[in-house]
């Protein structure tokens, strides 16, 4: 890990960054987001399989945004999230020095987002077999069984909003679930309110979800939220031929409009 530290130290020393976001060892066998030059020691920097958190979530946190030059050591999903955030005009590429480490443990510094785009396209991992299997078994269920499955899973949601907080794409300054005029989504963490919350969130992420799996990883109740987003991602990709965070400058399916759209209601 010495070369990571050396590299970060270099960027800090020559003034290329005011803050560098990376990873250090966290609780249990997890990694924790680190904010070098501000709160963490560069010597503790790591980058390994434990570094799963999507660091792009911090790019829209206001405490971080206020820095002029930001470095980030991104894992694969973080890179995808960065592209998607740029597509949604949430970040300005010039502010960032984006780095990653490839399979051969070489540090890559991206000159621009186009290079990030080529990297994510070239290095796309195969979807997790367990996820595919679970999606398959869900689509084989009839409606009632699926309803049953989700009713049971979602009943345990406590509305801690960790899924939303950890999601790099949930950046709205006012989430629909927090609007109360009108109250679109029931606040209490039970029954209908839980369904409304998750259906709403899944729809808002349809075609924007970068498949990092953070929502599912962070859910303290072990709700398999990733299934909702994965299903929608597949449907969007099949119907509209694009996947979030893979193509620079792509519109996203639910906000774009084409004159030759096959749906009548849209014309």
């Amino acid at each position: 890990m010495d070369n990571i530290a050396k590299n970060i130290n270099q960027l800090i020393a020559d003034g290329s960054v005011d803050i560098f976001i990376g990873y250090v060892k966290g609780n249990d066998n997890r990694a924790k987001a680190a904010f070098f030059n501000i709160s963490d020691k560069v010597d503790n920097a790591i980058f390994d399989a434990s570094c799963t958190q999507n660091l792009a979530v911090y790019l829209h946190k206001h405490e971080i945004k206020s820095f002029a030059k930001i470095g980030i050591f991104a894992n694969y999903s973080t890179l995808r999230a960065i592209i998607q955030l740029a597509n949604e005009n949430q970040i300005k590429a010039e502010k960032y020095i984006i780095q990653t480490m490839n399979k051969d443990s070489q540090i890559i510094t991206f000159a621009n987002l186009t290079e990030v785009e080529s990297y994510v396209q070239a290095n796309r991992p195969a979807p997790a077999a367990a996820m595919i299997q679970k999606l398959d078994s869900l689509s084989k269920m009839d409606r009632d069984e699926r309803w049953e499955f989700w009713s049971k899973e979602l009943a345990s949601c406590i509305k801690c909003y960790a899924c939303r907080s950890a999601c790099p794409m949930c950046y709205c300054s006012q989430c629909t679930t927090d609007c109360n005029q009108p109250q679109w989504i029931g606040v209490p963490a039970h029954g209908q309110g839980n369904f409304e919350w998750h259906i709403m969130r899944a729809m808002h992420l349809a075609g924007r979800c970068v498949a990092c799996g953070e929502c599912q990883r962070v859910c303290p109740m072990e709700i398999p939220l990733g299934l909702l987003n994965a299903r929608l991602n597949i449907d969007i990709a099949t119907n509209f031929g694009e996947t979030a965070g893979m193509t620079l400058g792509a519109d996203y399916a639910l906000s774009s409009y084409k004159v030759d759209d096959k749906e009548h209601f849209i014309r």
């Binding site: 960790a162 907080s165 109740m221």
Partner: protein, 337 residues
């Protein structure tokens, strides 16, 4: 000296099955996939023994994530309020760890000392805590730093120790516990040797000196440690909802103007909306302030108010945090400042 008995695992399970058959709720550790949660069991075979700590505390048995405060019916201009209906059966919570049971002592003071809370009181009165001392601990346990220990019985009605030979040592702690054990005396055996307990119980190192912390933390409000430690915090509610002593809630109405209910739901000072004024002003405007509030509330504010530090050292917030925030590291950084 507490009254001692033993009960073997088969008898314990028969006891639970009988309690369930008699219509009582039994809440016990159950495995979901990787984590173990407290949940209502329908048979003693649902119980999971392989856990150091459940992912969430047992507080939901006395302070559920959603609960009706009252319901109402409104006709023209006549309004009728109805108290929620509480079951007259006992809720048996089995397998709470000493930290968890100790949290009930805090909850009791918090909810009942001033302005006694009707709903908590009703649930507390009908809850019986059969706790289990700890034979194992992990790196996030710090009960001994906050005056609790893996062998502690405070807050419990009956405290069991797994003797790892198919038998449990039962210490009968409270009057409620005495009555319960008397009612089901046939399941217990009148023997027991307290010296067997300490051999089994885990040793947990003291991570910080509480008295020193209490002095040091006063006046830490303006330190930059809060800003530094909290940068990773995402501002969700996972830590507080998992915490046995977090008691904050929101009040919401559900249903129509004609009939419906007013309910309370868990809420937390970690969320930015918690303190937001209607004017848009937010007195705790950044995450550092919210993280600070949670830590100071545990170690300073409740100590000022109730003479009780309200962190019981269970480590749940550490294990649950999606961002790997760590309250022990924060405490240590205060001690070192």
């Amino acid at each position: 000296m507490n009254e001692l008995k033993t009960i073997n695992k088969d008898k314990l399970h028969q006891l639970f099955d009988k309690l369930i058959a008699d219509g009582n709720d039994v809440i016990a550790p159950k495995r979901k996939s990787e984590k173990v949660f407290f949940g209502k069991i329908i048979s003693s075979s649902d119980i999971c023994y392989d856990y150091i700590q459940t992912a969430f505390s047992a507080k939901s048995s006395v302070f559920p994530k959603c609960e009706e405060l009252f319901s109402y019916e409104k006709n023209d201009n006549e309004i009728k309020h109805l108290d929620p209906v509480f079951s007259d059966k006992t809720t048996i919570v089995f397998g709470s760890r000493p930290c968890d049971s100790a949290s009930f002592d805090y909850l009791k003071v918090f909810f009942l000392k001033e302005n006694p809370d009707f709903h908590f009181a009703k649930r507390y009165d009908s809850t019986l805590l059969i706790s289990m001392t700890c034979n194992k601990s992990d790196e996030h346990c710090f009960c001994t730093s906050v005056g609790i220990s893996p062998s502690d019985t405070k807050g419990s009605d009956v405290s069991l120790t797994d003797l790892e030979n198919g038998e449990f040592l039962a210490e009968i702690i409270s009057d409620k516990g005495k009555k319960f054990v008397a009612d089901y005396s046939s399941f217990f055996e009148n023997k027991g040797d307290i010296s067997q307990k300490s051999n089994k119980n885990a040793k947990v190192d003291i991570k910080f000196d509480l008295d020193k912390l209490k002095t040091k933390i006063k006046g830490s409000f303006d330190w930059d440690t809060w800003d530094k430690q909290s940068l990773a915090c995402l501002g969700c509610g996972a830590c507080a909802f998992a915490c046995p002593t977090c008691t904050c809630f929101d009040i919401q109405d559900e249903a129509s103007p004609k009939s419906g209910s007013r309910i309370r739901i868990w809420d937390t000072c970690a969320l930015s909306l918690f303190t937001l004024h209607a004017s848009g002003h937010n007195p705790r405007e950044n995450q550092a302030g919210r993280w600070r509030n949670r830590v100071l509330h545990k170690f300073e504010y409740t100590d000022t108010k109730f003479d009780m530090v309200s962190c019981v050292g269970c480590g749940r917030c550490i294990k649950t945090c999606p961002a790997s925030m760590n309250i022990i590291n924060q405490v240590i950084s205060i001690m070192e400042a």
